[in-house]
């Protein structure tokens, strides 16, 4: 397991850091929010990210991608997490492209992957049906109709759902609510008849959408009823990628807070000289060090296609959820009143942290899963 970055990955990180700090600082997110931007991200910036190769970072070269691997994806996600950069990376380059890569037919791969890599296609994964992550609790139904299928049901919290060109919809072709058997993936055009998409405006100023599907035409990906394993793998990739993003946000919020502890004075001294704050800061530092290791471990497990991917994905998502929550909350506390103001950027991190928490399973979900994977 590679727990240190190689030279190429380090160069990619430097480039990503440079790009994000110059082009997608938090001021950009604030602008999108204040302008009530329809898209929810800047298409011009996305184009530049595409030019850097980020949209196809894990897509094999034969499909027009960079084939740079998951650790490469991770360093980009981490840097985007630092500046809270809004983009369709997660929805398209992580979830969408993984669905196509793992479940798509050869024809679907040849058609869609090059478009994703070229930034011509935005995708979204329509999974959740309740306010809690429950990937196998699927009620949306898919019934055979002629050559294809018709889908009925509703979906929540679909990242970038309202701007996606194509959606991957998780639906049931057989079985009862929690059954793994019967879970299938469908490709659906965003303009399809019977599909109603409503953007939801979330606290972190990023995109999600609710979907209503009434007799919507869908194209099957993978084998009917047999996609639970594939879906789990896609979700694990997503969990690991978002953990990398969370690691970036955590570190940034922490570093800003340490800086504040050194500069803000009360009682005639820097507040960072108070042991009550020092020990909490040092404790957070330790949690962050452990977080770095689990993210790197999980990314490298993906690159090595190791047997531990599921466990490491749950380890990373659970730990990063706890750490990002802790650090983003403490960040506000240690900033005092100014931390509560919208004008100060530190408050952006706590919002993003909680949205990340509920993306693809919170800490408790992943602890439960980890226990199951360990056999108790």
């Amino acid at each position: 397991m590679a727990l240190v970055l190689n030279e190429e990955q380090n160069m990619l990180r430097d480039a990503a850091k440079d790009f994000c700090s110059k082009n997608v600082a938090i001021t950009e997110l604030r602008k999108l929010r204040d302008n009530k931007d329809e898209t929810g991200f800047d298409r011009e910036i996305w184009k530049q990210m595409v030019e850097l190769g980020w949209s196809g970072i894990t897509i094999p070269e034969e499909y027009g991608g960079l084939g740079f691997g998951y650790t490469g994806l991770g360093v980009v996600m981490e840097e985007c997490g630092r500046t809270l950069a809004a983009s369709p990376l997660m929805s398209t380059a992580v979830l969408g492209s993984s669905c196509v890569l793992l479940a798509g037919t050869d024809a679907q791969k040849s058609e869609l992957l090059p478009k994703i890599a070229a930034g011509e296609l935005i995708m979204a994964l329509a999974l959740e049906e309740s306010p809690h992550h429950a990937p196998h609790r699927i009620n949306t139904s898919a019934a055979k109709s002629g050559d294809g299928y018709v889908l009925n049901g509703s979906k929540k919290f679909v990242l970038d759902g309202h701007v996606a060109d194509k959606l991957v919809v998780v639906a049931r072709t057989a079985g009862k609510e929690e059954d793994r058997e019967g879970i299938s993936l469908f490709l659906v055009d965003s303009g399809a008849d019977g599909l109603d998409i409503t953007r939801t405006i979330m606290a972190d100023s990023r995109n999600a959408a609710n979907l209503e599907l009434v007799n919507v035409a869908g194209t099957l990906m993978g084998e009917a009823g047999q996609s639970a394993d594939l879906l789990d793998r896609v979700l694990d990739i997503g969990r690991i990628a978002i953990s990398a993003e969370m690691l970036g946000g955590t570190q940034e919020a922490f570093e800003r807070t340490i800086e504040y502890l050194k500069t803000r004075e009360q009682f005639g001294v820097a507040i960072g000289s108070f042991q009550a704050l020092k020990h909490r800061a040092a404790d957070m530092f330790c949690e962050i060090e452990l977080s770095k290791s689990v993210v790197l471990g999980a990314l490298s497990a993906l690159d090595e296609d190791s047997e531990d991917i599921a466990k490491l994905a749950s380890l990373a998502k659970s730990r990063l959820t706890d750490t990002y929550n802790l650090v983003s909350s403490e960040a506000i506390q240690m900033h005092g009143g100014i931390g509560m103001t919208d004008e100060h950027e530190i408050g952006f991190f706590i919002k993003r942290a909680r949205l990340c928490e509920h993306t693809l399973g919170n800490a408790a979900y992943h602890r439960n899963r980890y226990g199951e994977l360990e056999g108790y």
Partner: protein
């Protein structure tokens, strides 16, 4: 075959041939070998195993060969560790000679000191103890009062040390003493090595809450330390002493071995114990709340272990890292305590038996280990002191 692969083949062959059968079993606490003149080898194979490993220098695999060490590179060392783990070979010997004073002499010792002391650690001839803490100097170690007076070719040492682990079985003690009482407290300290076998030294064992007596009070009454055993410059002992603490924390935290433990003990994992004492309901442990505590501890341990491996990978030279050792000392200590608390909850009153045959050996060990585990956030510098070090040295927060 790469060099490393052929080294692995060589190690594997040698271990097959030379590791006695009884040394390929988990080692109970009371059979851990610490060496020294007072060591009794109940099992003669333990001595054979020690001698064979020492002959190769593999009791101190990465130390230079000129001082009796194995001269292995970091990667070769890991291969040796892996191969020993493969056959569950016991560590032939362990102790403060290897984890603390040896590495410190390599950093700060003179050529003569290295030649004098290191080979006798490697061979297991000499066992060391640490005379740092005093009744009035614990976390505030630099306020120590044990006095060493210059008498030409030697020092006369007077004072008292306390919590000296293994002082009753050690041959030598490395210690911090005050050589310049007028100087500011960090600047009047020297680091000296003292032969324990002399009339000026008396040790008295102290009993722990767990019932065992692994540590002692050490009284120095006109004890003699030869000048040639001053490590580092006179009055510059604090620098040497602090470096030793980093080696200590690194060893406690399994950093030198990248999380590989040289010990293969009897303790079962928390889930294994829980399956027996709590039972399963379907495919989950029957107590949902306890299960969550167990999973949390397991996940934190997994993250900790990955961090040990990352630290190892980042530190290519294979030496002891600096201030980050405090991260491991702090987190590892707390994690270990947490694990024992959970074990108690799992076993219930069966884990609180003290003696007698109403409890299994494992249960009695749980009681004692739980109590003993409380030291993991005290010995080697308390958790609070580690947090102080991290906030000051790593985060740069002001005093």
């Amino acid at each position: 075959m790469t060099d490393l692969e052929s080294f692995r083949a060589e190690v594997r062959g040698w271990l097959e041939e030379n590791c006695p059968a009884s040394m390929r079993t988990p080692v109970p606490e009371d059979e851990i070998i610490g060496g020294g003149s007072k060591q009794v080898y109940e099992n003669p194979e333990a001595k054979i195993w020690l001698d064979r490993m020492a002959e190769k220098g593999w009791t101190a695999p990465t130390w230079p060969t000129e001082y009796g060490g194995g001269g292995l590179s970091r990667d070769e060392f890991l291969v040796l560790q892996d191969e020993m783990a493969r056959i569950s070979a016991r560590a032939p010997i362990q102790g403060m000679g290897f984890s603390m004073i040896g590495p410190t002499l390599l950093d700060y010792g003179t050529e003569a000191q290295k030649r004098e002391h290191l080979p006798r650690i490697v061979s297991g001839e000499i066992r060391w103890c640490q005379g740092y803490s005093e009744p009035g100097a614990g976390s505030d170690l630099a306020s120590l009062q044990t006095r060493a007076e210059d008498r030409g070719d030697h020092f006369i040492v007077n004072g008292q040390k306390v919590w000296t682990s293994g002082a009753n079985s050690a041959d030598w003690m490395f210690t911090l003493v005050r050589t310049e009482p007028q100087a500011p407290k960090h600047e009047g300290i020297s680091f000296v090595l003292i032969d324990m076998d002399q009339p000026g030294i008396t040790v008295k064992p102290i009993q722990l809450i767990s019932g065992s007596s692994p540590f002692c009070e050490t009284f120095l009454d006109n004890a003699i330390a030869k000048k040639e055993n001053l490590v580092g410059k006179l009055n510059h002992g604090w620098t040497v002493g602090k470096r030793l603490l980093q080696h200590e924390r690194s060893a406690i935290s399994g950093l030198t071995t990248g999380g590989r433990s040289g010990r293969f003990d009897h303790t079962r994992s928390l889930p294994e114990v829980a399956k027996e004492y709590i039972g399963m309901q379907g495919c989950k442990l029957a107590d949902a709340i306890l299960r969550d505590e167990i999973v949390k501890n397991r996940m934190n341990s997994a993250a900790y272990n990955l961090t040990q491996r990352r630290a190892m990978a980042e530190n290519e030279s294979g030496g002891t890292p600096g201030f980050v050792t405090s991260v491991f000392k702090y987190y590892g200590g707390e994690l270990g305590k947490d694990r024992m608390e959970i074990q108690l909850k799992i076993m219930g009153t069966q884990s609180l038996g003290w003696e007698g045959n109403m409890f299994t050996e494992e249960e009695k060990l749980a009681t004692r280990s739980w109590l003993r585990s409380k030291a993991s956030s005290i010995a080697g510098g308390t958790s609070e002191v580690q947090l102080n070090i991290i906030s000051k040295r790593v985060l740069g927060l002001p005093d």
